[in-house]
Symmetry: C2
């Protein structure tokens, strides 16, 4: 049906939900298209570039229906290297604390990085004469109808106008220098760097400038941090904390818990993500459960919206080797220590210290 | 020498460093002037309102020396209710993990809230024609020479121009509807809401628009998060992570660890601080060490720069009563669980979960 690596971990076929192994993500700064994670709430639409239309309306002076040629010809093309991360990434670590019924046990792979290419949403908002009011929101709607939603409805979400007008939010038709593939939202999707992946609406067909966050199920009811004792089945629109910006996070990609490694120098590596508009300053590695720490080497990230890759080489002696990682951003904010500290009923935003034990032989 | 409550906890007389008890802070949203914490690095200058001058220079078109009458007459007066917090607040909790030689063991009281009144720094920058370059910084210098600095020098620090031009940064001469007292920086100080208290320079006599953060000791060398294994005595300018914005934090103010309370309903309370530009969404209280949580009641804070006060009433039965608190901001970011997780050689920014045990009789 579409290109994907045979070693993807498929959580569901319908809707299609799959993540790459951490080791595949570890191989490159830019995730190959066929390894990029897929998170869907409905069937994957099949829209050709010729048939695609985008209806831009709401609080704008000149509502307009665009086709793809028009978008590409009227607006300067911009490229942004951005890491997208599902709010459910690392949920498996939360499920180990307490079960989370009905949600996929995403591991470390619901995060991937691509070079996105397209028009700035800001330029499109200017072209249609979006009203100049800092309290507005911009809603995105796709054609994929989700049966998971209450009631069933097309997938949608919204962002605040300040973010929508920032240079980094794209209406993207390119991914890693190829046309945006259908599986990742092609022909055209929204890319909102720094926000949870759920806001980067795929196959977007409508953009609406509105007075308040959209009442679409995926904005109003899903993707919210509920209180630990809340019943997610009973939660209604507006309950809990709505998710937009990603928190500081990091993970190990080169190894998985329980891996066997030979004694001697071992290089572990992974990524750190600073969260919206921040920068990674330091990544610490502990082999004694967090009592003492060494600093990992950081690669220069591909701009402010891409993950920061880190590596650390240590001398492994035979026996169990415990690894604990934590990152600091440029405000010296760091992460919670355990998944229990951030457990929530829908299992979002596990940004606790990644921990694993390797067996050195 | 100046008005202060007799129950202040004085860490040092020279330079004068003192904090109120948490119970005094618990009494009111706005901290009384005589209970507001004092953090100094040198002697308290005695400058009259008539003698005070402010030299504004650097990358500005019209350098100018202002007196206080001129500031008050030329610029609209603005009031901002802002919580200031010392970067060393709650250091005592870090010292319990590992000693931090040479730094005062601040408890829960190096945080206080006032209504500040003065001119917007943005208006002053406009008046002198500060250059329009987003990479500029604005340095503040006081007359208080610190012997702690290497070499001894007047206290100073700087902030980025975007923050300097924001509406919330004041050149303040009023505190809680009184003239700004000498002990708190009078006749005139800087107030930078959302940043560590060290950036709110007291008795400010010079403002300089410069190309990079100031090389003043208190910006370049002090107030930095060093790696856990770094030797603070050997750290030089630029080492570690420079501190500006405060992280999410919260604390209990009504009670202290070990307090005795009678069985029955007990109301505990304190504050949560969201960090720069964010908002508190939820405060959780656990009486079982963080396994289950109840939500505290939140007061509406006095605007975006003031602490958010919370209370929670529980039924205390005889025996030890453990309390653990955590806050969530509007990005669903929460706090590290233990002080060990954030320990650093200079003991800054302990924003771990506050924990205490009350004895119910």
């Amino acid at each position: 049906m579409w290109d994907k690596r045979s070693d993807m971990i498929v959580h569901e076929q319908d809707p299609f939900n799959a993540e790459p192994t951490p080791q595949v993500l570890a191989e490159s700064d830019i995730t190959p298209v066929d390894a990029f994670y897929s998170r869907n709430h409905g069937p994957i639409p099949a829209i050709t570039a010729d048939d695609w239309r985008l209806d831009v309306s709401g609080r704008v002076e000149r509502p307009h229906v665009f086709n793809l040629d028009e978008i590409r010809q009227r607006f300067t093309t911009h490229a942004v290297t951005a890491t997208l991360q599902c709010a459910g990434n690392r949920r498996a670590g939360l499920i180990d604390v307490r079960p989370i019924p009905g949600e996929d046990p995403w591991g470390s792979g619901a995060v991937s990085t691509a070079e996105w290419r397209g028009a700035r949403l800001a330029d499109i908002l200017d072209a249609v004469g979006a009203e100049d009011d800092p309290d507005l929101h911009v809603a995105f709607t796709g054609p994929d109808v989700s049966e998971v939603a209450t009631p069933p409805q097309p997938y949608g979400s919204s962002i605040d106008i300040a973010k929508a007008r920032s240079g980094e939010v794209l209406l993207a038709w390119g991914m890693n220098c190829q046309p945006l593939p259908r599986i990742h939202g092609g022909p055209v999707r929204i890319v909102v760097p720094g926000y949870i992946g759920a806001r980067s609406v795929k196959w977007v067909t409508a953009i609406t400038v509105i007075d308040a966050p959209t009442d679409n199920y995926f904005q109003a009811s899903a993707y919210r941090i509920l209180a630990p004792d809340a019943d997610p089945g009973a939660a209604g629109p507006g309950d809990g904390i709505s998710l937009s910006t990603l928190p500081l996070n990091c993970d190990v990609l080169t190894h998985s818990d329980g891996d066997r490694v030979p004694a001697g120098p071992v290089t572990v590596g992974g990524y750190a993500q600073p969260g919206n508009g921040r920068r990674i300053e330091r990544v610490d590695v502990s082999t004694d459960g967090g009592t003492t720490w060494n600093q990992a080497e950081l690669d220069l990230p591909y701009g402010p919206w891409a993950w920061c890759r880190w590596t650390h080489t240590l001398c492994a002696r035979p026996g169990p080797l415990s690894l604990v990682i934590r990152a600091f951003d440029d405000t010296a904010t760091t992460q919670p220590e355990t998944p229990a500290a951030v457990w929530n009923p829908k299992g979002y935003l596990n940004n606790s210290w990644p921990r694993m034990t390797l067996h050195v032989t």
